[in-house]
């Protein structure tokens, strides 16, 4: 059970991730639709974990991840990416992301990644 911030530019994906996390007993404390918003919400809400989409307008997930890790080096962040973005996934792991899930994903996969990151 953790307080989680969900970041994705697609309202539908935010709903999917939120539903999955809520069913798993977590509390989604906030949502953001781009990297800029994600950083603002992160500072304001201090979530225990953040899920971060990679491809987003304004500021993408990698740039947001970098700033979040600068704000809190211990921040737990899980990246969500579409297929074919292996290089970006690798970069995000190097930047400090705890794990990643590849879209399209099943609810169980999200919960498993969250569980591992919180352990």
């Amino acid at each position: 059970m953790a307080r989680i911030l969900v970041v994705d530019d697609a309202a539908f994906m935010r709903k999917m991730v939120t539903d999955a996390l809520t069913k798993g007993g977590h509390e989604v404390v906030g949502e953001a639709g781009n990297g800029q918003e994600a950083i603002a919400r992160f500072q304001e809400l201090k979530p225990e974990l953040t899920t971060l989409d990679i491809t987003m307008p304004e500021k993408d997930g990698l740039a947001a991840l970098k700033e979040i890790i600068e704000l809190d080096p211990n921040a737990r962040v899980i990246m969500c990416s579409a297929l074919g973005q292996e290089s970006k996934v690798l970069e995000s792991i190097k930047l400090g992301a705890r794990d990643f899930v590849v879209k399209p994903f099943q609810a169980d996969r999200v919960l498993e990644a969250v569980g591992k990151a919180l352990a």
């Binding site: 697609a10 309202a11 539908f12 994906m13 709903k15 491809t55 307008p57 579409a82 297929l83 074919g84 973005q85 292996e86 290089s87 996934v89 690798l90 792991i93 794990d99 990643f100 899930v101 590849v102 879209k103 399209p104 099943q106 996969r109 990644a113 591992k116």
Partner: protein
């Protein structure tokens, strides 16, 4: 069949499989793939699309004109969105356009399909294919569709049925892709004759590859072990330094196929000079690199 037509058809087949894989996750049991065809001319690729239709396109960004356009009827888009949200029927089946959440759902499905199709195209071409951000349009008249997209020398048309409604993927193919695909196919013709079937060599447990993908060259590499250290330590490594890897000398080594951990085996020497790997265990094919968390391995750019 001409080499160009064959290349285009293979490209279409692999994209069709990639797209239906994504769709099947969003709308299980409600997706079937129809015919893959190479239309005579550009306009023909978009002919007879039922309207009103929702269209979503992505362009390639590596300097060539081309990309993918996915078209689905408005009713189909509503039904797909409903299926994605676990509903049997759309909330408002008679609405003249998609609600914000429906549009977001369908865009996301198309987005992920396009990423998957681009990844399949990259595999077919043997080079990375990057795509731009998706663009969504609504069409009320079929005659308007072809003019809305950049003209390319080749196109492939793939039919789908999604939630009982017709849908279509049109691949807008630049000449450069056909040239690369054709030469990859030629290389393959030469290799297939001389090389043993890799699936058989691996113990025959891998199962038959999908026919349209069976001929596509893949990158295979073996990994002895890994190490993790601070960057400052890496740049300071003098010649003669020893980097310890995370494996014991008697541990099996990993065999990767295009970044996916495929099998484990033992390093052996053949002909007294060449390294080779004897496969011990072919991994369950459902276990991909993505499932196992951090196991991402890429082919180094310089190879």
């Amino acid at each position: 069949m001409s080499a160009t037509a064959e290349a285009l058809e293979r490209l279409g087949q692999s994209s069709a499989e990639a797209c239906s894989g994504v769709l099947e996750m969003f709308a299980p049991g409600k997706v079937s793939t129809g015919e893959v065809s190479v239309p005579k001319d550009f306009a023909d690729a978009f002919a007879t699309v039922p309207v009103p239709a929702v269209a979503m396109s992505v362009s390639y960004v590596d300097g060539v004109t081309g990309g993918n356009v996915f078209l689905i009827t408005l009713d189909g888009a509503k039904r797909l969105a409903a299926a994605m949200m676990g509903m049997e029927e759309p909330e408002d089946p008679d609405a003249p356009e998609l609600s914000e959440l429906e549009l977001s759902a369908v865009s996301e499905a198309m987005n992920q399909m396009m990423a998957s199709a681009a990844a399949a195209t990259a595999t077919a071409l043997g080079t990375e294919v990057e795509i731009g951000t998706p663009d969504t349009k609504m069409f009320a008249a079929a005659a308007d569709i072809a003019g809305a997209y950049p003209h390319t020398p080749h196109a492939v048309r793939i039919g789908f049925s999604i939630c009982g409604e017709p849908a279509r993927l049109v691949q807008l193919v630049p000449n450069a892709f056909v040239v690369r695909m054709s030469s990859a196919l030629d290389d393959l013709g030469a290799e297939v004759v001389s090389a043993p079937n890799p699936a058989t060599a691996a113990g025959g447990t891998a199962g038959p590859a999908i026919p349209s993908l069976a001929g596509i060259p893949v990158r295979v590499w073996a990994e002895l072990g890994r190490a993790r250290m601070p960057s400052a330590q890496v740049v300071g490594l003098p010649p003669g330094a020893v980097v310890e890897l995370d494996r014991q000398a008697d541990d099996p080594i990993d065999l990767y196929v295009n970044g996916t951990l495929f099998a484990t085996g033992r390093l052996v020497v053949v002909d007294e000079t060449d390294w080779a790997v004897r496969i011990e265990h072919v991994l369950d094919k459902t276990k991909t690199s993505a499932d196992s968390g951090m196991e991402v391995a890429r082919w180094p750019e310089s190879w």
